[in-house]
């Protein structure tokens, strides 16, 4: 039971249709691309630092690895981290925001003070610090990003729940003798959730960016290919092999952009007040 979204309104806008299409392509490539293309991104060859658009697709790096293949696998990681981190942050934020907004009083004040204290901290530095302390690893990176991103969702959800719980159909449901928890789950949350969906999409972009930043700093699992790590190792050859930096950089830029554009379109459709 999720809020109904009229996808036709979103797809009728060029920005919405294009970003939705690109996201679908990205998802398909991430899911099936490596299977179709085959090959191992870690495969080392003697063809080092080959320029792109020749025999080696998007070129090779200093160890002779295929940049195009690495980008494919990097997309997987970026999307995985982005989607899982955004989903966890949204779930956590929506749960905290719903309970705070619906039951109010002490729980509300407590949840809002906690979320405020998270919001005044510089997200990226904190993420880097935590990962540096607890060690790198995809699961930890996802958890840290989710932990830092939930307060925004929680505050939005709380505001929505505060609005929806005053609606007459909530009183009407109460008149049927439905318990408060059931009212929150069945009546209030489905009607409060739509704007949160837009924020969740924007969170995906943020999460991808944070992940790229962390792995650029070397705070990611060294055994997986990520765009951030490609950037890091590419910068040493910035003048000799521009493609090692430009392609992963552009990949990060494009991925974050489409999620943000899609999130903005969703936001416009789902948040009529332009919040």
């Amino acid at each position: 039971m999720v809020a109904r979204v009229d996808w036709r309104i979103i797809l009728r806008q060029p920005a919405g249709a294009i970003s939705a299409a690109v996201i679908l392509v990205f998802l398909a490539v991430a899911a099936f691309g490596p299977l179709l293309v085959g090959g191992n991104p870690d495969h080392i060859s003697e063809n080092i630092l080959q320029a792109p658009f020749g025999a080696f697709g998007l070129g090779t790096d200093e160890l002779g690895r295929n940049v195009g293949l690495e980008l494919f696998y990097g997309l997987r990681i970026s999307l995985l981290v982005g989607l899982l981190a955004a989903a966890s942050a949204t779930l956590l934020g929506a749960a905290v925001g719903s309970i705070a907004g619906y039951f109010g009083r002490g729980i509300d004040s407590l949840a809002m003070r906690i979320s405020e204290s998270f919001q005044v901290l510089p997200t990226f530095i904190l993420a880097a610090l935590i990962v540096a302390l607890i060690g790198a690893g995809l699961d930890r990176v996802i958890a840290v990003i989710a932990l830092l991103a939930w307060p925004q969702t929680a505050r939005l959800m709380r505001a929505q729940v505060l609005r929806v719980k005053q609606a007459e159909f909530v009183d009407a449901a109460r008149c049927l003798g439905i318990s408060e928890w059931a009212i929150m789950l069945r009546e209030v949350i489905p009607n409060a959730f739509a704007p949160v969906l837009a924020t969740a999409t924007l969170t995906i972009g943020d999460a991808i960016l944070i992940e790229a930043g962390l792995s650029y700093l070397g705070l990611s699992d060294p055994s997986v290919v990520t765009w951030g790590r490609m950037l890091n190792s590419g910068q040493r050859f910035l003048f000799e092999a521009w493609w090692l930096s430009i392609f992963p950089g552009f990949a990060i830029f494009a991925t974050v952009l489409v999620f943000n554009v899609f999130g903005d379109v969703l936001n416009k459709v789902l948040n009529p007040r332009g919040a």
Partner: protein, 341 residues
């Protein structure tokens, strides 16, 4: 407080001298100042009054919808289906809501969950109150009862007309198998022809389902056409009540006379007859007859104290007005003389 002259049979609702106040940001509103009301099993009772007289506050109190942080019942008693709910804690209200008492609301768009199909909304009430029932079958039955095509089951509220949504609201309420149905201005948001259909439907269902009905309305015609008895409310209390025929046929309170005159001119299309003045401010407890500032017939005692006496009426017709004080005329005049000297 209430004169128990006629025998109505078993009561499903008893409101006895209820005083209720709203507290909001330091402001206090005495919304109910001695409201009393009774509804017997199978009876249709009207509750009439103008905006702000407290009729909706009373209706919401009967089903526990006034937020406990804002509204407190200071004295009096509310008994619903034999259970005293005056100070019922929030966690126990689900045992009362739906059955014995269910509610139909005014604005037919806002009382249905906008993202839930009609079938699911009706099923919700059946599942809670009719544990043995075959939910799908019962939902279909209810939709037939309110004379909607079964196609509406797949629809969302915004796809239905106002009249259809109001029928859905009635079906949801009936799904609870209530003993008392409270209808709070059920037709106010509808156009005139639809109003009549909905009122006829509610009236029929009350009879066929053996429910009692408390119809809250400011529409005298609607109340007159379906209610056995009627209470006229003013400034948080009842000023006149009795059988519909008595109250509308021979009103005793100048306020009720004024209301009926206004309704009369409306029907005849003449220039509106209106009651001069405004509804009293309820931020204080009113210690006189609340209508006296607007009353064309006010005399000395009206400003002194509220009329609280009972009349000796075989049919239970009560008028809370000093004009009808059961004192000998000479004593009343003596009182006047004493007061004015």
């Amino acid at each position: 407080m209430i004169a128990h002259a006629p025998v109505y049979g078993k009561l499903v609702l008893q409101v006895d001298d209820v005083h209720m106040t709203y507290h909001s940001h330091g402001r206090i509103v005495h919304a109910l100042q001695g409201a009393s009301l009774e509804v017997a099993e199978g009876e249709a009772v009207g509750l009439v009054g103008e905006s702000g007289c407290g009729k909706s506050s009373l209706g919401r109190a009967l089903i526990g919808l006034n937020p406990p942080t804002l509204a407190t019942i200071d004295s009096g008693r509310i008994v619903v289906g034999g259970r005293d709910v005056t100070h019922l804690p929030e966690r126990d209200w689900p045992e009362v809501r739906g059955n014995p008492v269910a509610m139909v609301f005014q604005d037919s768009l806002s009382f249905l969950n906008p993202v839930m199909r009609i079938e699911e909304q009706i099923a919700e009430s059946v599942r809670i109150h009719d544990k043995q029932a075959d939910v799908r079958k019962r939902v279909r039955e209810l939709v037939q009862l309110v004379r909607l095509p079964s196609a509406v089951l797949r629809a969302y509220p915004f796809e239905l007309s106002g009249g259809m949504r109001q029928r859905v609201g009635i079906a949801v309420a009936l799904g609870c198998r209530p003993r008392l149905l409270i209808a709070d201005e059920p037709t106010t948001a509808l156009d005139v022809t639809t109003q009549a259909e909905i009122i006829v439907l509610i009236d029929e269902l009350r009879r066929s389902q053996g429910m009692s009905l408390l119809l809250i309305s400011h529409d005298l015609g609607v109340v007159r056409s379906v209610c056995d008895r009627v209470y006229i409310m003013y400034a948080g209390r009842m000023v006149e009540w009795g059988t519909t025929a008595e109250v509308f046929g021979a009103p005793g309170h100048p306020y009720v006379e004024g209301l009926l005159a206004a309704a009369q001119t409306e029907r005849q299309g003449r220039h509106f007859a209106s009651i001069k003045g405004e509804v009293p401010n309820l931020s204080t407890q009113i210690t006189s007859c609340p209508f006296s500032p607007r009353c064309p017939k006010a005399f000395d005692p009206c400003g002194e104290m509220p009329p609280t006496f009972d009349l000796d009426s075989p049919a239970g017709h009560q008028v809370r007005c000093w004009l009808h004080a059961p004192l000998p005329r000479t004593a009343r005049e003596g009182l006047n003389g004493a007061r004015s000297s």
